[in-house]
């Protein structure tokens, strides 16, 4: 069984908010002049305060928009894409990391013409979790992944809702992996 403890969490659920409105709402979190070049997901993952000012997302451009702006190098950076198993696959990468602290971050931005074609999200959201190998005194929750013999998925949007509403979960999250999410 793989295990990590949640030490910090932030979520942003703008729903159908237009990118221009997101830009106006979050512009105070970025250097003047930087905001107009940032995508909606870059704004969402970068503006929510984190314990380390060190937030990433599964989309490299939004990660780089934020971390380059803050000049924050990172040792390992695993940008994933995926479908119904993406949340479980991302957690497996995080829980197999050899570092004592891992940030799991992701989201979607609301597509425009691609959404109309059915190949992009119609909803925007973003999340970031700081995970550690040891529980510490103030852990907010606990994540485990255990091998199982069956398959099953947890979409990124469903994973976001678990985090946003602090709901527990126990079930398959990716082929061969059972996820358990508990809140303190």
């Amino acid at each position: 069984m793989l295990e990590r403890f949640i030490q910090a969490i932030r979520t942003d659920n703008p729903g159908l908010e237009e990118p221009a409105a997101t830009r106006e709402r979050l512009k105070g979190g970025f250097a003047p002049g930087a905001v107009r070049r940032m995508t909606q997901l870059g704004l969402l993952v970068g503006a929510a305060a984190s314990p380390t000012l060190f937030q990433t997302s599964i989309h490299p451009s939004s990660v780089q928009q934020v971390l380059i702006g803050r000049q924050r190098s990172v040792r390992e950076f695993f940008p994933l894409a995926g479908g119904p198993y993406l949340a479980g696959q991302a957690l497996l990468v995080a829980l197999l990391a050899t570092t004592p602290r891992v940030i799991v971050c992701g989201g979607e931005e609301r597509g425009t013409w691609m959404a109309e074609c059915g190949v992009a999200s119609t909803r925007a959201f973003a999340f970031a979790l700081a995970l550690t190998a040891v529980p510490g005194a103030g852990a907010l929750g606990r994540l485990t992944l255990s091998p199982i013999d069956r398959t099953g998925g947890l979409s990124l949007a469903d994973w976001f809702d678990l985090l946003h509403f602090r709901r527990p979960f126990a079930g398959p999250a990716a082929p061969g992996w059972q996820l358990k999410l508990e809140w303190s």
Binding site: I68, F78, P79, L80, Y85, L86, Q89, V93, V119
Partner: protein, 370 residues
């Protein structure tokens, strides 16, 4: 001091496909100093400047439905050792920097909605998954030109932890007017052919089609991935830190692991001046005895797949006992360790394979005889 490297993750199989042919044909052509790159219009049938591109034989740059590279992928993957790929114990990792992005561009240009099925990463890979008969356990990584290294690292971690019996890493990047046009807009894809690590006045790259696979296990195969390292500078959207600190940070763990080992280095070597100089001088400083070669002067840059394409060629070179030199380059070079000509691999314990990417992303691993 003796060389002691881990052999806990073995390379059970690997192969690549390039415009020069399969692994054996590509290695033979590189050893002969042949160049796959040819001057072609950057926007395909819409024309534009002629730039160095290397396409699979008979393939045009413009997108088709289904993608014209699909048959080549099927042929390459026919050589993958049989296994229930995509089940819980046999995970598949697919990496690319392009996926089918050219299909999105083709849709925008021509309005044919059939292109959309291949246009975004998950849809493109899921189509391939179904075509190839893999199960659902397929993970997708995309991190520009170090993408393949991420697949290799996650695969190695699962194998090393005993959570996978075997892991398949597959990477593919096929050029399109969108990709070629993008690099052309950056002015690094221009009329000149690349000369990796050559100290010349103007830098240039070439782009190439490429696909490759590797199968990792714990106990099968005469080669081992002994150590892996990543580092992400997050310094600039395209450039590296001018002091080369990102290159050194990535190599430090491998230098420690390879203490006492005689290495040769398969570098990234796209043909750009600043990154090439930083890479060559950093290798010369940390591994002063190790010859450095790069093969993108012939194959072009196969982008997110270069790490896996070049791994297959390194493995083949080790088996053949001879490594190609830096094809397409010429003296004067940026550092004394740059090897322009082929050399025998028998005098070395291991190979360091490195790739770099936009945003100061660095990745490297050590490959040796188990």
């Amino acid at each position: 001091m003796a060389c002691h490297l881990s052999d806990s993750v073995r390379l059970a199989a690997s192969a690549c496909l390039t415009p020069l042919g399969d692994t054996a044909a590509t290695l033979a052509a590189l050893l002969r100093g042949e160049r796959a790159l040819q001057a072609r219009p950057v926007l395909g049938r819409e024309g534009g400047d002629r730039v160095p591109l290397a396409l699979l034989p008979g393939r045009e740059l413009d997108e088709t439905v289904p993608p014209a590279w699909a048959d080549a992928v099927r042929a390459l993957l026919a050589a993958v050792p049989p296994a229930p790929w995509g089940d819980a114990r046999h995970p598949v990792f697919v990496t690319s920097s392009n996926f089918g992005v050219g299909s999105l561009y083709a849709y925008r240009r021509g309005g044919d909605a059939a292109h959309l099925a291949y246009g975004e990463p998950f849809g493109c890979v899921d189509w391939l998954r179904r075509e190839l008969g893999w199960g659902d356990n397929v993970t997708i990584f995309s991190h520009a030109c170090v993408s393949a290294h991420l697949g290799l690292m996650q695969a190695a971690r699962l194998v090393r932890a005993g959570l996978a019996e075997r892991a398949l890493v597959f990477s593919f990047d096929f050029l399109s007017p969108f990709v070629a046009g993008g690099f052309h807009a950056l002015k690094i894809l221009n009329a000149d052919f690349p000369a990796p690590y050559a100290a010349r006045a103007t830098g240039s790259i070439g782009l190439g089609d490429g696909a490759a696979f590797a199968v990792l296990t714990r106990d099968v195969g005469e080669l081992a991935i002994a150590a892996q390292s990543l580092h992400n500078e997050m310094f600039h959207f395209t450039a590296n830190r001018p002091d080369g600190a990102g290159f050194a940070a990535c190599l430090a763990p491998l230098a420690a692991a390879a203490r006492g080992c005689r290495l040769w280095v398969k570098g990234h070597g796209t043909g750009t001046l600043e990154a090439g100089r930083l890479e060559a001088t950093t290798f010369a400083r940390i591994f002063p005895q190790a010859p450095l070669v790069g093969w993108k002067g012939s194959l072009g840059h196969t982008l997110g797949s270069c790490g896996l394409v070049e791994l297959a060629l390194v493995a083949a070179a080790l088996r053949a006992g001879r490594a190609p030199g830096t094809v397409g380059s010429a003296a004067p070079v940026m550092a004394e360790n740059v090897a322009l000509e082929p050399f025998a691999t028998a005098g070395y314990d291991a190979v360091l394979c490195a790739s770099n990417a936009f945003g100061g992303a660095h990745a490297a691993f050590l490959l040796d005889h188990a």
